[in-house]
Amino acid sequence: MTAIYILWLREVKRYLRSRPQIIASLAQPLLYLLVLGFGLGPVFQQSGQGSYLQFIAPGVIGMGILFTSIFSGIGLLWDRQFGFLKETLVAPVPRIQIMAGRTLGGATIAMIQGMLVLLVCVIAGFRPQLALIPLALLFMMLTAIVFAGLGTAIGSSLKDMQGFQFIMNFLVMPIFFLSGALFPLANLPAVLAAATRLDPLTYGIDGLRGALIGTSQFAPATDVAVLAVVASGFLALGAWSFSKIQI
């Protein structure tokens, strides 16, 4: 257990020490929030859907969590090429504990990042309902665990940085755009509707939106159930790929 804790602590320390990166990583969600929020706001309003800023704020929080947790998994690739991973792999600690410490660390920093994005959204004019904040935190945590597990699976199987570009364009960006972070899930064309339902981030953002602004496509229990199942699946996948790492 102490091994899991010390590796978790390492991830968190590294994150808290990289302040310039934290600020830089807040810029992207903020850009989406302000430019799209105010840019598409009038159109959204005219179609009778209310404030677009309110609508996409949970979406950009989900985006922050998605990117941070996937990047923390990619950090594995760096540790692998530049040695630190070897130090942990020759330690008398089962690999599953090393994977658990790193992945939980990744999920924790993604969660902190999500809370920072929420704070920035509030400063930018987002007004969430306060009563269900604990529920919102639950959804942020589940989303962080889902994608930290996926990040570990990706980081364990990537060989070089070219692979990273591939993952960004063919996996992470589609997960973001198909999640309903930017548009309502009702009345979509059939193919798109099906794609959004296959995307785990959809349920994270839907749950978050339900908790923060009171509108959602699915019941909160459905969102929690789907996220929990996907999280277990991705954690198992992450543990499996991590166990396959050859130095």
């Binding site: 102490t2 320390k13 530049f82 630190f84 070897k86 008398p92 060989k159 130095i247």
Partner: protein, 261 residues
């Protein structure tokens, strides 16, 4: 302390290690020499549980690394060819993390970290981030870390690569003194023949995955009728230059060097 018998590792068609046998006695300093790509690192990787052998037998302190990896890992320390420190942590934090991973009790951990950091002249810089350290300081820290959990065997894979003569000299002095005071068996590889001759009691020379000679430095010179270990080494392994293929890791290292100023 280390017993290796007919060890083989093949990667597809390539035989990286091809039937290697040797013994290292407890408390001995043993040098494993060979040209690039001869199979030194692969052998170390097999002994240290990172890679499974294709065939053959080996034991460390009587234990089989394949069957009881965790028990074997507790018994050795290793300094890899590439640095394996976390640059974003301080020197002290790097050692502390290691101590926790190796289940060193807190009290012993605190004492040994201080003792080793003082010995390797890093105590004043204990709270500096490792990314600010020079190559020599990083190496010293890694060696101190290798000793932290009082291992029975210390593997050193080209530990002096890229260091100036002063740092190399000092590093071997410390390794020798700990070898004597803590009775640690040392298994090292290096490209510097003078180091091997000065530090190691016995030497094995490996080429194309096979051991071509072993014995003391004097025995190797006698065998080949040469007057220096370097000449003996060249006589045994020939003078062709071995080019290793650059893999993804090397390419990334080059890229990172380009990005860092």
């Amino acid at each position: 302390m280390i017993h290796v018998e007919n060890l083989v590792k093949t990667y597809g068609e390539v035989k990286a290690v091809d039937g290697v046998s040797f013994d290292v006695k407890a408390g001995e300093v043993f040098a494993f020499l060979g040209p690039n790509g001869a199979g030194k690192t692969t052998t170390i990787q097999m002994l240290t549980t990172l890679v499974r052998p294709t065939s053959g037998r080996m034991t460390l302190d009587g234990l089989d690394p394949g069957a009881r990896p965790l028990d074997v890992r507790r018994r050795f320390g290793i300094v890899f060819q590439d640095p394996s420190l976390d640059g974003e942590l301080t020197a002290y934090e790097n050692l502390e993390l290691h101590g926790v991973l190796y289940h060193v009790p807190r009290k012993v951990r605190v004492e040994r970290i201080e003792m080793l950091m003082k010995l390797f002249e890093l105590w004043d810089r204990r709270d500096s981030f490792v990314k600010t350290f020079s190559g020599g300081m990083k190496r010293r820290l890694e060696i101190a870390r290798g000793f932290l959990h009082t291992p029975k065997i210390l593997f050193l894979d080209e530990p002096t690569l890229g260091l100036d003569p002063q740092s190399r000299n000092q590093l071997w002095t410390h390794v020798r003194s700990l070898n004597e005071s803590e009775h640690v068996t040392v298994f090292l590889t290096t490209h510097y023949m003078d180091e091997a001759e000065r530090v190691a009691q016995r030497i094995a020379i490996i080429d194309h995955g096979r051991i071509v000679a072993q014995g003391t430095a004097d025995e190797l010179k006698q065998q080949t009728g040469t007057d220096s270990l370097e000449a003996a080494f060249l006589a045994l392994t020939g003078s062709t230059i071995r080019d290793e293929r650059a893999d993804a890791a090397d390419q990334m290292r080059q890229m990172v060097k380009m990005w860092r100023r």
